[in-house]
Symmetry: C2
Subunit: 740 residues, 2 copies
Amino acid sequence: MRNVIEKTYDSLDAATLERDETLFHSANGYLGVRAVFEEGYGEIRARSVRGAYINGVYDIVPMPQAEPLFGLVDRKQTIVNLAEVQDIKFFSFGHPIAPSGRYSRKLDLGSGISSRSFSIELPSGAMVEAVFERLCPFTRKGSFMIRVRIESDRTIAIDAETTHHCKVTNLADASDPRLASVVHSFLVQDEPFFTSDGVSVCRSTTKESGIRVVSAVLDRIVSASPARAVEDGKAVNRFSLESGSVIFERYVAFSDSRTSSDPERDAILAVLDDSRKGFEAAVADQKKYLANFWERTGLSLEGDDELETALRFNLFELLQSVGKDGLSHLAAKGLSGEGYEGHYFWDTEMYVQPIFTYIMPELSRSLLEYRYSILDKARENASLLGHRKGALFPWRTIDGTECSGFFPAGTAQYHIDGAVAYAIIEYYRMTGDKEFMLDKGLEMLLEISRLWMDLGVFTKRGFELHDVTGPDEYTCIVNNNFYTNASAKFDLAETAKLVREILPSISEKEEAELREFERASASMFLPHDEELGIDLQDDSFIYKKKLDLARIPASDHPMLLHYHPLFLYRHQVLKQADAVLAELLYPQFSDRATMIRSYGYYEAITTHDSSLSKCVYALQAFALGDIEKGYSYFSSSNEIDLEDTHGNTRDGIHTANMGGGYLAFVKGIGGFRVGEKGVSFSPILPEGWRSYSFSVMYKSNRITLKVGKDGAVLSAERPLVVTVHGRDVPIGKEPIVVEI
Amino acid sequence: MRNVIEKTYDSLDAATLERDETLFHSANGYLGVRAVFEEGYGEIRARSVRGAYINGVYDIVPMPQAEPLFGLVDRKQTIVNLAEVQDIKFFSFGHPIAPSGRYSRKLDLGSGISSRSFSIELPSGAMVEAVFERLCPFTRKGSFMIRVRIESDRTIAIDAETTHHCKVTNLADASDPRLASVVHSFLVQDEPFFTSDGVSVCRSTTKESGIRVVSAVLDRIVSASPARAVEDGKAVNRFSLESGSVIFERYVAFSDSRTSSDPERDAILAVLDDSRKGFEAAVADQKKYLANFWERTGLSLEGDDELETALRFNLFELLQSVGKDGLSHLAAKGLSGEGYEGHYFWDTEMYVQPIFTYIMPELSRSLLEYRYSILDKARENASLLGHRKGALFPWRTIDGTECSGFFPAGTAQYHIDGAVAYAIIEYYRMTGDKEFMLDKGLEMLLEISRLWMDLGVFTKRGFELHDVTGPDEYTCIVNNNFYTNASAKFDLAETAKLVREILPSISEKEEAELREFERASASMFLPHDEELGIDLQDDSFIYKKKLDLARIPASDHPMLLHYHPLFLYRHQVLKQADAVLAELLYPQFSDRATMIRSYGYYEAITTHDSSLSKCVYALQAFALGDIEKGYSYFSSSNEIDLEDTHGNTRDGIHTANMGGGYLAFVKGIGGFRVGEKGVSFSPILPEGWRSYSFSVMYKSNRITLKVGKDGAVLSAERPLVVTVHGRDVPIGKEPIVVEI
């Protein structure tokens, strides 16, 4: 198992430090802490974001519209940096114990520990080694810990000064539409205090949303007692000792009023509990949790070490990012940074959630439960937009209300409803979880289908959907976006089918509604050009001006930061896969030749300015049999964060791309699909690979596919029939070999 | 001549007071002063806007974009309320001399005086009559005067307290996108002072745009000397006298650093000059100016007094509104209020400027000179939008830079270029002013045509224009908006023709460019539906959902204040004439049957939520021979301000509608047109009218049309041939009668 991300540097530079705050962050789906140097960066002027975030804890900021048209959103939620819990400084005779040159970072995907180590020589000549280890336990949702080990070749004087406080702000950058533009202080703080056990407690309340957040911290060095004080609104611990070897431990626990009735008590108790059990116990728990996780993935790959590492990193990061309590979702940047202000988009459903559906369906259900929790707000959103029925999920949100500032590239992306429906349908196909469908799933599907009905219009061309924006934001507010229409066509038919299948009885009125769904689905207009033989992105796309992408300099990407929207709208240029994504997800609506031609047509004009693009081109290339191209996109998509190819990893990981990368592996290379009637595989073995494997959980039955030079080996916990390259294959506990 | 607007009220109410501040305002194209009660409204809680504005004097306010996409406008210009110059209060023994019940307002279109009169009984039993007269002389651009006459039936004590200061703000209303949303103080003020002549001088500078503005005021009562003081930043005059008859005069003069190198000196000298000449001299000048104006209009109408009054009122208001110095234009609300923030739109070119082109071409030229003065900014605007050549005039502006906050309903309205081109071409057709064309006109036409070339794309359907917004803002960012395409088709062909006609020689390169213009014009795609037999508003409009306008309650209009833009975009509903306007302006591109069917189709789904709509429906109904319908729209459009049918006259007059109303008279009823080869008339005599007349100035030759029961009578200062109902008619000094 290639389970370690390790980087060693010879010097400190701002860009690397900024990026690594994201790459090496610690999170567990509830809490996320960026991987800053505890002691800061000294002379280096990095744009450090010393952030700690809770998934679902937000504040509200005004977002005035330049022209306040009816119904436009003028307040938005934003994820809040909650506290400084990493401020730990060591000195020896005033000399900071901090790297000035060589240092290493490591993320261990087996233990979940993110660590940093360096050696320095003190002015006294003493050689000191320091290791900082950090952990956000998956089994203790508000907890975070830091352990620092300092070893010297002789006894030295060591002073430590640590703080804990809420005097923090969020990052702002007015020049980038993907970041917040104004610095706000979101917290009203109480004075910190220490408990009799030495736990420092910081309590704050978000200004507009009124969420109470408490962080508790206990700092410990076994051989020394700290002096404790509250100074300038900060809880301070000061240690002084003489030793050749010091172990410092910090235990942190957060709690909030959304998920706890007494967050102060809960945070303090959690810290005391964690500190009593100790750092090693947490490591042991984390290893156990992760061992189970890796086992459930069944992931192995022989023949491309870098790629295996990237895939594991992707999965680990998604596990760190995903909300697990049914009250939170998975933000575009997970809990690793403030990019996109911590908002949840369709990215999760279409790029990430399938992985949980395949591996850990209980987490997928939790994501769907979050969507159900905001269904009423989605109904209100639909009503605000003038719909007489149905629900429209917000394009970007934390608490369920829409946060899109520019509605043509936000609210108008109705296909988010299709994404939610897709996630529900795929979850049901994989799990057969009728209870969930009866309780929540069907209600969401019905409301989504009603929205499609209210949106659309029957014309002589069929059922048409007007004035929506598809996935590609370089073209906004169009008619009959192929992706959106295909998605609605699928949702309407599947909703009718599932309602009939799952509901014990159906009234006449309900039956009439289902028939309308079916009629609209059957007559859905899907734009297609006979001459070019391709599916059309929308009614007008191919009439637009062509743009020679070769003439756009690299520095002009992403183009959205360099060209007026009207310029982009007016040209045949794509930010990301659009019709190609539709053909990947809904191949039943196109024939293979059309898909091959469409791929060629759109690929030539796609900039991949969105991190959601390359993985789709990889997946569809594999599906269409162009292994080389698929592999090339696949590799390139896996570099986005580890190599920072988009240049903005410092603002957070690209979760959708990470999900897409793993999907390219499972669905692209493994050819995995789940349909109405079961699961299928069409595995290939890329050149240079010796073998690979992965598992999926189908109706509580774990199926494992191993592919090697000798073919595919399939096994399952219980007998069932799967399809391999189009042939039915009965499988069971005993591995069965199938030629590929 | 019905030359007086007079209204008498029995009591004071807020809505009337607010509206009348607009209706009875005084302006001369440079300066505008709202008609507040000098003494205020006492107990009445009216939203009074005590404004004084200079055309072209603006400040800049931040307009942050909710999502700061590339190239979006984030600062805008706004007209600035410059000074309080109307604060005049009279008392008798502490009792205010102000109306508490009955009072009258009058606007005399012959003298230009806006007056107010009332009688009150003082507690002492004295009966007092007061008349306030106000004047903004057309011949003294920075001047404004007030004369107050107080007559009592006995000698009484009269105290007057007047102020003059710059401690003023603009109006703000965050709930209405047509108004500014935040109160700003735009002026940095110097301390006021009095000159030795008793002139109070207030000097201020606009904060961001740095325009220096000076107002000078002299208050005079022949029989009394005031005590003068500067108190709390205000220049104060206090008079005390005993008399049965008082005449108070205030002389005001403004000057600004845009148009004067020493505004302080100019304002003081102007006030001294005005006061030396006296109020009556100004009245005499104004009467002379207006007599000449009315003579040039040749306007008469026997048979509909109300309508005649409305037409005269319209013309007078437009004369008050139009910038006459080539450095300013004509704002949507003229100088009567702060609606639309004093911005200039296409409204002027398409609805107002033709009137000046027909009656006072020198004012039309001044408007074109303003456009020329911002041509470089229009080039920059085009470049910002990604165009490699050409100029795109800003959708809304004062100083030439774009102020659209929501670009889909602003900047995307490329048809403003068509409006400017139309104004140039019509100006040239009416005047034959080659000097202007050589100097400025052709350059603008060429830059506009280049923009169309860069915007468009040749496809198998022809030359197409994508992603623009037509006049109807209830549908945004569409392809092949009929109006825009027709406009571009016209501009391209006319530009080529005029360049060839006017330029002494043409290089080969120029010739090649003109041929491209002609090719694009000839192959311009004009969307048309064979089945419906109508011109299509754009590529997709008729596929949209239908909306039963009868089911939209009156309180839901204008719909833009009650429905999300996406709802409006998605339905077949129009804010204002779009394809119908194209068919009116460019009838050569459609046949009569198509225009009749188009009219029927679009009329049924037009809300006329815009004040630019009914006059177009009137004009086109007349053109298509539906006199009854034309007359009904014509009458209704003339009520907008006088009857405040849109409910927002308090924010300013609707200049475009006023222009459209007069055009409905001249072009609708008189059937006047100017083409390449000359002018034509197709007059009708509406039922109930006994006669009417108007004049137009064609190539410095005044042509007068009089229509009565016996036919049309035509005369001209010099012989020429005009077309009447399709027949060539030679006319000259001697009136010639033609049957109609």
